[in-house]
């Protein structure tokens, strides 16, 4: 299989927002943001006079110019404990431009509009902002200390606090109990294309081209923020250079570009720099967790408690949703009698946290998979054996976990065994023993993580598809789902070919244009195939039934006698290939009325993909440098439509997951200044730091949707991170090391080794 998207991407390149050469944008001016260089400060004055005089400057705008917007919506009353992914309102609201106070380095304070890009850089430097610095709230500890408040009227930095109180009796029957503080560090999503938008206001209508995962959601947000009728807004998502959850809808910078185009009456373009992107888009993860796990000496886990403090950064863009998902999935794939969770969401002077590939589930898996390894070490049992004993057995599905999620289908033990066999687990352990014996400088680590995750958590939000068959035998798909690398155009064409026999090459897929597709949700939470794909399949079946009626009429046969030859894409009387009619003829016969179907599929249910990852690392005990040398996985996402596309999702996710374990972290200093704010300091994983991956196949169909599909977009990051972390710790476990926080940089691993050696 080759993708239909690729010839264009490989020869003339995609059309990302900054590549648009539409005539409407020919006169577009450039937007450059002026951002806060300070983590926490009062704004005591902004002087834009010098910038206004600079060459090429069209306008300089600040919060004072936002006088043509509707009043902010009243406080929703949401406290963020409902588990809904909405920003907290009221005291905690996020403005468009900073008003009176800045809360993170990178927050937009003003906007310079110039004729060309270089003029913008110059003029932005001339905007003079007076700040009165305030003590910065850095990290979870700083937030909880409460000495400085981001939102004084709220009286606290804690925005959400919920969960079950600790029940000390829960661990009473345990032979062994282990507790550990775990940091799931703050990450930058870094899609290779940063955020970008272009906007035009003409004839009472706003058009926004934006690099987004969800054109329709972006339109909804725009309508609310700018006080416009959605009918007067068109949002277009052209090619999008990666999203990873960080481009859901549209955020304040994009809203400001749209507003400014209307405010000054000129088309505008904006494409952020990478350094802006690292600080002003969103970050992910950022949880401090406390795990407590207990069980019997023969390996049965009896009780588990997970306490989370979610650092949500300067603004709460998702309420309590991320730690809610972490709590929901806390028990992982294990059958544990007693599970407790509790979480807090706290504000800090750092970039706001939002979804990042996995969004709450990698954090759950990282916690329980570390906990299982700690428990195994405590009782002196092989960690894979502990997993086998506690994994939910295949005959228990559907299974409701101790943390409250109902898993649909699974073959957890089989998945684990497949990976252990595929990797040659016994041989790896033998090799590890040999290296320990000889005192090899390069010690071998073997780390395993088993997981279950939730995809399409908001399945009832549905997804749309419209399918039209034309009188030239081609077909057009309008999908509410949205592509940014996943291969929707290919996958959707495959679905049409499978149902109707219309060749993939004759199927055009259109997404991300609200004029053409007013209803839709878009792509996040690994929802595309199981919702958008099913919607399209249903539309294709409706078109098929329409086609049957028409073909029966044309061939003067009864509908029951007609069959669709999917190989040739023709209707024929059963057993009589000589009498046949093509899709083109059927569509032509219908004429104007058209051969089309519209589906909004809202009957889907969340699905629970699962799997096991095994990472083999080599750790240089003299330098602390850890290197991943093998990565073997089973990622069972139900029935697979396209193995090639599914594997591609796994590859990318694994790389990002390994990167969290070994390299990546957004670091802030005591004043709240980002220390890793460029790609020079923030270590994106490169080709040299990864091996080729060993992917094993496993398909346990979902029963809640007709494609049998579960989501595959996020599995890689969910499994790979703890497998890699466990692997590095395993490599040095013979020195008495039980835990090292991520990222497992040479400095950290080396420090752990020296400390362990000293204490011997």
């Amino acid at each position: 299989m080759v993708r239909t998207e690729d010839p264009r991407l490989l020869t003339v390149g995609g059309t990302y927002v900054d590549d648009l050469r539409e005539p409407e944008l020919a006169q577009a001016a450039r937007v450059t943001f002026v951002r806060s260089p300070i983590a926490h400060a009062l704004i005591t004055g902004i002087d834009v006079s010098a910038a206004r005089e600079a060459p090429g400057v069209v306008a300089v705008l600040t919060a004072a110019d936002l006088d043509d917007l509707p009043p902010p919506p009243p406080d929703s009353g949401l406290t963020g404990t409902e588990g809904l992914p909405f920003p907290l309102g009221g005291h905690w609201s996020e403005p468009l431009f900073a008003v009176d106070r800045v809360r993170f380095v990178g927050e937009p304070v003003a906007m310079v509009i110039t004729d060309d890009r270089y003029q913008g850089e110059d003029a932005a430097e001339l905007v003079s902002v007076d700040y009165e610095q305030l003590p910065a709230v850095v990290g979870v500890a700083g937030a909880l200390a409460g000495e400085s408040l981001l939102f004084p009227p709220a009286g606290s930095n804690v925005a959400v606090s919920t969960g079950t109180p600790a029940d000390s009796a829960a661990f009473d029957g345990c032979d062994a109990v282990v507790e550990q503080v775990i940091v799931n560090q703050r990450l930058a999503p870094v899609p290779l294309e940063g955020r970008a938008a272009a906007a035009r206001w003409a004839d009472g209508k706003l058009t926004l081209w934006v690099s987004t995962q969800n054109a329709q959601i972006a339109r909804f947000i725009l309508a609310g923020a700018l006080g416009l009728d959605p009918a007067n807004i068109r949002v277009v998502a052209p090619d999008v250079g990666g999203g990873f959850g960080a481009k859901i809808g549209v955020d304040r910078d994009g809203l400001l570009v749209a507003w400014a185009a209307k405010h000054i009456g000129r088309a505008l373009r904006w494409a952020e720099t990478r350094s802006e992107n690292m600080l002003a888009m969103t970050h992910g993860r950022a949880q401090r967790q406390v795990v407590k796990i207990g069980g019997t000496r023969d390996g049965r886990i009896l009780a588990y408690r997970l306490e989370i403090v979610q650092d949500t950064g300067a603004y709460s863009r998702m309420g309590g949703f991320l730690p809610f998902l972490t709590s929901l999935m806390a028990a992982g794939p294990y059958d544990i009698a007693h599970v407790e969770t509790a979480y807090q969401v706290v504000m800090t002077n750092a970039t706001p946290i939002s979804a990042y590939r996995g969004a709450g589930r990698p954090e759950a898996t990282a916690a329980i998979e570390r906990a299982v390894d700690l428990f195994a070490a405590e009782i002196g049992m092989d960690a894979t054996e502990v997993r086998r004993i506690n994994l939910v057995p295949a005959d228990k599905f559907p299974y409701t976990s101790g943390s409250g999620a109902t898993y649909d289908t699974g073959e957890y033990v089989a998945g684990l065994d497949k990976v252990l066999t595929g990797a040659g687990y016994a041989e790896l352990r033998a090799e590890q023993a040999r290296r320990r014996e000889t005192g090899d400088v390069l010690q071998l680590g073997i780390g395993v993580a088993s997981y279950v995750e939730i995809t399409a958590a908001d399945a009832d939000g549905g997804e749309t598809a419209r399918l039209v068959v034309h009188d030239d035998g081609t077909a057009t798909v309008y999908t509410g789902s949205s592509a940014h690398g996943q291969g929707h155009h290919t996958a959707w064409a495959m679905l049409v070919q499978a149902e109707l026999g219309i060749d993939m090459s004759k199927v055009t897929v259109i997404h991300g244009d609200t004029d053409l597709i007013p209803m839709g949700v878009g792509t996040y939470a690994s929802r595309s195939l199981q919702l958008g794909g099913v919607a399209l399949q249903k539309a294709a079946i409706e078109v098929k039934e329409l086609g049957r009626k028409v073909a029966a009429e044309m061939l003067e046969a009864s509908e029951a006698d007609l069959e669709l030859d999917v190989d040739r894409g023709v209707w024929q009387v059963r057993g009589d290939p000589a009498t046949s009619t093509t899709w083109a003829q059927v569509a032509a016969h219908v004429g104007e009325a058209g051969l089309a179907a519209d589906v909004n599929y809202t009957d889907g249910k969340p699905t629970f993909p699962f799997g096991t990852h095994l990472a083999v690392t080599e750790v240089d005990t003299e330098t602390g440098k850890a290197r991943l040398i093998r990565h073997v996985t089973v990622d069972d996402a139900g029935t697979v439509l396209s193995p090639v596309l599914a594997e591609g999702q796994r590859h990318g996710g694994i790389a990002q997951g390994v990167a969290q374990a070994l390299l990546e972290e957004m670091v802030y200093d005591a004043e709240g200044n980002p220390v890793t704010g460029t790609l020079v300091d923030y270590a994106i994983i490169t080709a040299t730091e990864l091996p080729s991956f060993e992917l094993l196949a496993s398909e346990t169909p979902a029963t809640v949707n007709p494609l049998g599909a579960k989501g595959i977009g996020e599995a890689g990051t969910i499994g790979a991170t703890p497998a890699t972390q466990n692997s590095v710790i395993d490599a040095v476990s013979h020195l008495g090391i039980r835990h090292i926080d991520m990222p497992l940089t040479p400095a950290r691993v080396w420090a752990a080794i020296s400390e362990a050696r000293e204490s011997r």
């Binding site: 080759v2 993708r3 998207e5 690729d6 010839p7 264009r8 991407l9 490989l10 020869t11 003339v12 390149g13 995609g14 059309t15 990302y16 900054d18 590549d19 050469r21 890009r117 270089y118 870094v190 899609p191 290779l192 294309e193 940063g194 090619d239 999008v240 250079g241 990666g242 990873f244 494409a271 720099t273 990478r274 350094s275 940014h484 690398g485 996943q486 291969g487 090639v644 596309l645 594997e647 591609g648 590859h651 990318g652 996710g653 694994i654 790389a655 990002q656 460029t678 790609l679 020079v680 994106i684 490169t686 080709a687 040299t688 990864l690 080729s692 991956f693 890689g716």
Partner: protein, 156 residues
């Protein structure tokens, strides 16, 4: 200042500001938008093109420095989407791209690698592409594509 660059075989001449980067010259003046900008610290390689046959990050070169020289971008590799260059063909066959943003730079870096080393090992491919970041593919299929393109070119 006036700059004249031969881009994909055709001459492009324009009056540009002294500080104009080659990548912006290609995108805004020559109208070739396949070459992307992925960073501002010369870290990502999305902007990789060939300058006189050797790969360079076009965000680190001034348009003025390319004056009188030859530039090849991904648009110049093949005559259209029907006839792909062997490296483009291999990226397609091996699913070596997802969102496509790193792809033009990745393809040009690979072309340059294979020109210098027609039969690289997997490690050599990985090292040669160290300066080209991809956030989507985990590099797995990119490496396979480059190795496939290499064996394709080797007479068997």
């Amino acid at each position: 200042m006036k700059v004249t660059v031969t881009v994909n075989g055709g001459e492009v001449a324009a009056e540009v500001a002294d500080r104009t980067l080659l990548v912006h010259f290609l995108r805004d003046v020559a109208g070739l938008t396949a070459t992307n900008v992925g960073c501002d610290t010369s870290s990502c390689g999305a902007c990789t093109v060939l300058l006189d046959g050797r790969s360079v990050k076009s965000c680190t070169v001034l348009a003025a420095q390319a004056d009188g020289r030859q530039v090849t971008t991904v648009e110049g590799l093949s005559s259209g989407s029907e006839e792909l260059h062997p490296v483009q063909q291999a990226f397609r066959a091996e699913h070596g791209l997802q969102c496509g943003f790193c792809t033009p730079g990745m393809v040009m870096a690979s072309v340059s690698l294979l020109a210098e080393n027609p039969s690289p090992t997997e490690d050599e491919v990985r090292s040669a592409l160290e300066g080209n970041l991809c956030r989507c593919t985990g590099y797995h299929n990119i490496v396979r594509a480059v190795l496939a393109a290499a064996s394709e070119r080797r007479p068997s």
